[in-house]
């Protein structure tokens, strides 16, 4: 039967057989890409040899010899290595990206919800914010915040002084630095204990509500557990906390914590820019919850607030999370614009200064790209896990 079938099939020329064609196309493509990669690599080796650069990680443990204006870990320009400079830069990137994500999320949710407000003025103002900010390049916004706003603040002698003892001038923002005295570790322990107790109570309250339908006043008890024990220990231990206030000198301000103007401008710019995109994500997510859901909740006797908390938000979050993740990644990638205003992030330190000093273009660009790829992949992985948990609620 099958022999008869195949015999009846028309004979196809070899070059017309789809399978043969497919293999030929793929082999051709692989050969072309392979040739490109090979010639690029051999050219690179030639060119590097001519420039007397030995590629590799040999420079990693060499003394860097340049200063960095903001370091979260100890770093010394005379003794520290390029490797150490890399970690300083990476931590600075993570710091600004992490804080930026927090601020952009808060601002973005507020503006996204405002755009749907029944208050006409509020909705229009939020819409104007989104349309303006989204249509201006981030780089322009960063330059504006840095050069036109922060650099035009008064200089050190005429610093603005806030009642709390903070100074603001064109060199940065100087805040009182908390000093943890003897006995503060007990307070820290109390904070941990309080937080654990609060989480445990919330879980227990939820189980009990599902079992019996009775809901204890979760919010107030959780707040009491979080704030109460640390406060009590703090008082009992005799206030083991002091502040190192910044002191205004003639030309400089000493003491306290210094927030660089570059850092402030970058954080400002990134948060404000990304918030406009997050606002749109939030708005789309809330609009995606069909109105029937809200009406059904009302007809079951839920009040507006529980309807929002139990019906609208959980369903909207399912729509919001995936695009929100990509906004977080965009913010992290956009933090590389730090290089334009001189904030010492990974790109400014590593792809800028280190590359200029060592000439290791291939290694350094590859490492930088690998870092951002890793951040991207890890974030998408975590968000996919979360997304799967949220998506399971579906029928």
């Amino acid at each position: 039967m099958s022999a008869e079938h195949s015999a009846r099939q028309p004979r196809v020329a070899l070059y017309n057989d789809p399978r043969v064609r497919s293999i030929a196309y793929q082999a051709g493509l692989a050969a072309a890409v392979g040739f490109l990669v090979y010639s690029a690599a051999s050219n690179a080796i030639d060119n590097l040899e001519r420039a007397h650069i030995t590629s590799g990680f040999g420079f990693w443990n060499t003394t860097a010899g340049f200063d960095i204006s903001q370091t979260l870990i100890s770093y010394d320009s005379q003794a520290s290595t390029y490797g150490r400079a890399f970690w300083v830069g990476l931590l600075n990137t993570l710091l600004v990206a992490g804080l930026g994500i927090v601020f952009a999320t808060i601002l973005g949710f507020v503006i996204g919800i405002s755009r749907l407000s029944k208050n006409w003025l509020l909705a229009k103002a939020a819409g104007g914010y989104v349309e303006t900010i989204r249509n201006l390049p981030l780089l322009l916004q960063l330059l504006f915040w840095y050069n036109a706003v922060l650099k035009s603040l008064p200089d050190t002698r005429d610093s603005l002084v806030s009642p709390g003892g903070a100074y603001l001038n064109n060199r940065g923002l100087f805040l009182p630095a908390p000093q943890f005295l003897y006995g503060f570790d007990a307070v820290a322990a109390a904070i941990v204990v309080g937080a654990v107790a609060a989480v445990a109570f919330a879980i227990w309250a939820r189980r009990r509500q599902q079992r019996t339908g009775k809901r204890p006043p979760v919010w107030s008890i959780v707040m009491a557990l979080v704030i109460g024990p640390p406060l009590m220990v703090f008082v009992l231990k005799g206030f083991p906390l002091a502040f190192d206030y910044p002191q205004a000198g003639r030309f400089n301000i000493t003491g306290g914590v210094e927030v660089l103007p570059e850092f402030a401008a970058l954080l400002f710019g990134l948060s404000i820019y990304t918030a406009a995109f997050i606002a749109e994500v939030v708005r789309a997510g809330i609009l995606a919850v069909s109105h029937g859901q809200i009406e059904a909740a009302y007809s079951l006797g839920l009040k507006p607030r529980p309807t929002l908390r139990l019906i609208v938000v959980p369903q909207a979050m399912r729509v919001i999370i995936p695009p929100l993740t990509s906004q977080y990644l965009n913010l992290t990638k956009n933090s590389t614009l730090a290089v334009a205003i001189g904030y010492p992030d990974l790109v400014q330190i590593f792809t800028g200064t280190v590359l200029n000093q060592t000439g290791q273009a291939v290694t350094i660009v590859a490492v930088t790209m690998a870092v951002y790829l890793t951040i991207s992949l890890v974030t998408s992985l975590l968000m996919n896990i979360y997304n799967r948990r949220v998506a399971l609620v579906e029928r």
């Binding site: 692989a30 029944k118 003025l121 590389t336 291939v362 790829l373």
Partner: protein, 388 residues
Amino acid sequence: MTMSEGELAVTELRFVRGEAIAPRPPPAAMTGAFAWMRANLLSTPFNVALTILLVLLLAWVVPEIVKFLLVDAVWSGTDRDACREIVQHRPIGACWPFVWERLSYFVYGSYPIEERWRVDLFFAMLAFGVGWLLWLEAPRRGLGAIYFFLVLPVCSFVLLHGLPAIGLPLVDTVLWGGVLVTIVVAAVGIVASLPLGILLALGRRSSMPTVNLLSTIFIEFVRGVPLITVLFMASVMLPLFVPQQYEPDKLLRALIGIALFASAYMAEVVRAGLQAIPRGQFEGSMALGLGYWQSMQLVILPQALRITIPNIVNTYIGLFKDTTLVFIVGIFDFLRTVEVARIDPKWATPVTSTTGYAVAAMFYLAFCYGMSRYARAMELRLARAGRH
């Protein structure tokens, strides 16, 4: 008991009105501006507070902006003294003479003055092509696409870079700058990313494992890294990858970086459009005897691209904003020329930076807002077309 005449007359007295009363106007508090305000601005105490707060905020911000840009602005002058508070003894807003003087630098960069007609001609040709493609009822739009994607790039290159054989002297790209570079970078990104993006999207949906794998790796890699690192790669690594005698021009390197970056994003946009086309369309075209490329070209892509136009335009908005990043690898785009001009000592005043940034903001806002309006109009048009 029988009914008397009088009783009958009583029952004939009707208690129902025979004709309708003319409708009375609704209570004054329920109509007009007052009611609208009550419903939309003052519905709850919280809303009243919000409205008051916002009115105060706007009353503070808007007059400040108007004052800076118009009322206190300086409209004429020859150097920085015209825009200094100490000299003029009055509050100073935007310093427009600085912009007038630097306007040609903002537009052409350092392009030789006697050759600037070439740049103007390029702008005109580009505007003509863009108009042809954007105006949906324009005649011969197919020809317009050929003009935009094939004729225009070649002509522009000859025009801007020069071809001594036909009497156009060479103009080195180091001299290019300002709006010219911004438009060139954006146009190259726009023209190159669409075909490349379509190819990558088709590759990612291909059943051939090698094609699929290579496309996926490229797209995910480029989308996973910041544009700056792509530009750094193009500007510091590309010269290493080619033989020494072919070292590419600085602007060309940035253009390659931008084109590759934009095509990876475009690929994902096009892929979303391809996924929205039902499989039956492909099977139908196969049944008609069309090959892969024929069915893509005649059946699938026209439908997929039409529904993707709003997203394609949104990608172009992102691309247009991203052109500012070439600034960082040392190319004089519009933002860079503003940045250079604002630190010029001749115009050094406290308001120069803000004036420069205001001009840049208006430029980018006009382009990006225009594009986003167009995308929105296309979306509405598609939604209307989809209904019947």
